[in-house]
Symmetry: C2
Subunit: 332 residues, 2 copies
């Protein structure tokens, strides 16, 4: 397997968290090429993480977390994100992993790696932990496209089905369309037109999946649909709403009941550990950009080393299970 290109400069805790995550990944025999500025990745620094012998693709620039994605990718030609995506384009790497600027990661992947033939728009697929379910729910698009066409949502559904099967082994994925009521007549014209496309039987038969109709916001975290299809505006708002509610809930527990680390509070936190660990974005490995010619994993900006490790494992698995080829087969 070709090596995985990891953006050493991306994320709130770069490069330290990234380097430690890479060290952990190499312990699992994953072959990695680092991409970044040699000034930040000197021999001493690399030695701290047992990375003396790692291959380095030099990139003198790092795109800031708050830069305007399109122009940053166009003007910062020697940025780590551009160099990482070029490594995939040039057959030197099989995947990119970055915890950096999400929009710029997407733009670099799109510009350098290119779209899969027939894909109208790539989409960000984000996993959500579901209580009493072995596999996460996948929602797409979580923000690649602020506006969408019904045909694009039809493709998002196909890509989501292929990804859910490859990544999580869901044999007959159930697909739901995010709306504001269960009936086919509910929702915006985008949703109503997408419903017509998704309810056709041929694509479901071809891909071995089942369209279960409209779903609602409350289905995000329940065992209803495996693949939740929506436009990138709605998906991103839903993602951030869910994160926000969970954060406020957790803060309110600490504020009212107390932090972990006392005899009174520990039984609660110990009992809740599986839930908190399930919801912890560091444990999911991040989102993937589906529809580009190569694997592109977008890790959370606040990724710690565990998150980086999980993102690299996700990339490795996506390469190993040939997800990009399966996406090509499904779309073309």
């Amino acid at each position: 397997m070709l090596q995985i290109a990891v953006d050493a400069m991306g994320g709130d805790n770069a490069p330290e968290a990234v380097l430690e995550g890479v060290r952990l990944a190499r312990e699992q025999d994953i072959d990695i090429v680092l991409v970044g500025n040699p000034d930040d990745l000197d021999a001493d620094t690399l030695a701290t993480y047992n990375l003396e012998d790692i291959e380095l693709i030099e990139a003198s620039q790092a795109i800031p977390m708050d830069a305007e994605p399109g122009s940053a990718v166009r003007t910062m030609k020697d940025s780590s994100l551009n160099r990482a995506a070029e490594a995939v384009r040039d057959g030197k790497a099989s995947a990119i992993v970055s915890a950096g600027n999400t929009g710029a990661t997407m733009a670099a992947a799109l510009l350098k790696m290119g779209r899969i033939k027939g894909v109208a728009r790539p989409a960000i697929a984000t996993p959500f932990f579901v209580r009493k379910k072995d596999t996460p729910n996948i929602m797409l698009d979580c923000g690649a496209n602020a506006e969408a066409q019904p045909e694009w949502l039809g493709q998002f559904a196909k890509m989501g089905v292929v990804y859910t099967r490859d990544a999580y082994g869901v044999k007959i994925p159930k697909v739901g369309l995010m709306s504001i009521g269960e009936e086919a007549s509910k929702g915006s014209s985008l949703v109503k037109n997408s419903f017509e496309i998704l309810s056709q039987k041929d694509w479901q038969k071809e891909l071995g999946c089942e369209f279960i109709g409209n779903i609602e916001g409350r289905d995000l975290l329940v065992d209803s649909a495996d693949v939740l299809v929506t436009d990138g505006f709605t998906g991103n708002v839903v993602l951030k709403t869910a994160e926000g509610v969970a954060t406020e809930f957790f803060k309110s527990i600490v504020e009212n009941f107390g932090s972990p680390g006392s005899k009174a509070t520990d039984p609660f936190y110990e009992a809740m550990e599986p839930v908190f660990e399930g919801w912890n974005p560091n444990n999911t490995g991040g989102a993937v950009l589906l529809g580009v010619k190569g694997v592109c994993v977008i890790a959370h900006g606040s990724s710690n080393p565990t998150a980086i490790l999980n993102a690299i494992v996700l990339a490795r698995d996506s390469v190993a299970n040939d997800n990009v080829q399966h996406l090509k087969d499904a779309i073309s």
Copy 2:
């Protein structure tokens, strides 16, 4: 003050929960007229709730919770919702309160009470409990309009400002526009065009409010904007996502840590009571439909007597503070 028309037939627990809620409201000297089927509201039943002397507007039909709103309101002319809205139109009541079919409540209000002059579309304003903030955040539109125009969002903002001031005493409400990034360049074309309208200074000065720019899903439950403006599709998805995440969080606590009622779990539930009570939709009184000629309170379908009481109090307060007149002044 004119009496408040309460739909006795609306909601999952009607008429019992409604009648008990009405009894509680009358203990606070709120003048109420019941609307519903006399067969269900016979003397014996009413006596059970000390409502022997209550005025009744007879309506032989009740619109089911899952009926298609538009056609139900048009065809079920003698439904409790139509009769309640007509009572406001005819000057016999000042407000309607219903825990029934939301779409039908909206349709009946729109059809019978009519829009305020100049209002393009009414909007549903829903309150969200915010930790460490005295007043809730109000989001609108939470589902009256599946699609929207930038000018409508401009009006939603105005109505939200007036309502937040009247209902919660927020002197200089902060208005945020739901988007997928803080920059004005982020979001759908609807959001970008709405941003232009909202950022104009004249309306802010006129209404005494401040537009703080784009907000994101994670701002829903934090002290950032008092009025969160969005289209009815996004608003409804956000509302149901937030409800769904909170529900799953609560279920996961009961499942992993245990229910209230034991020595081990009670300290947690006692400490968290203010939070759970804050988030409990029964305590908010429900959402209001802004932009129609009269007060229209939409209670949660699962309302218990406390929820009905709070919805009636909300209606009484909206009438008392002359919210509809203030909306007329702001829009015309």
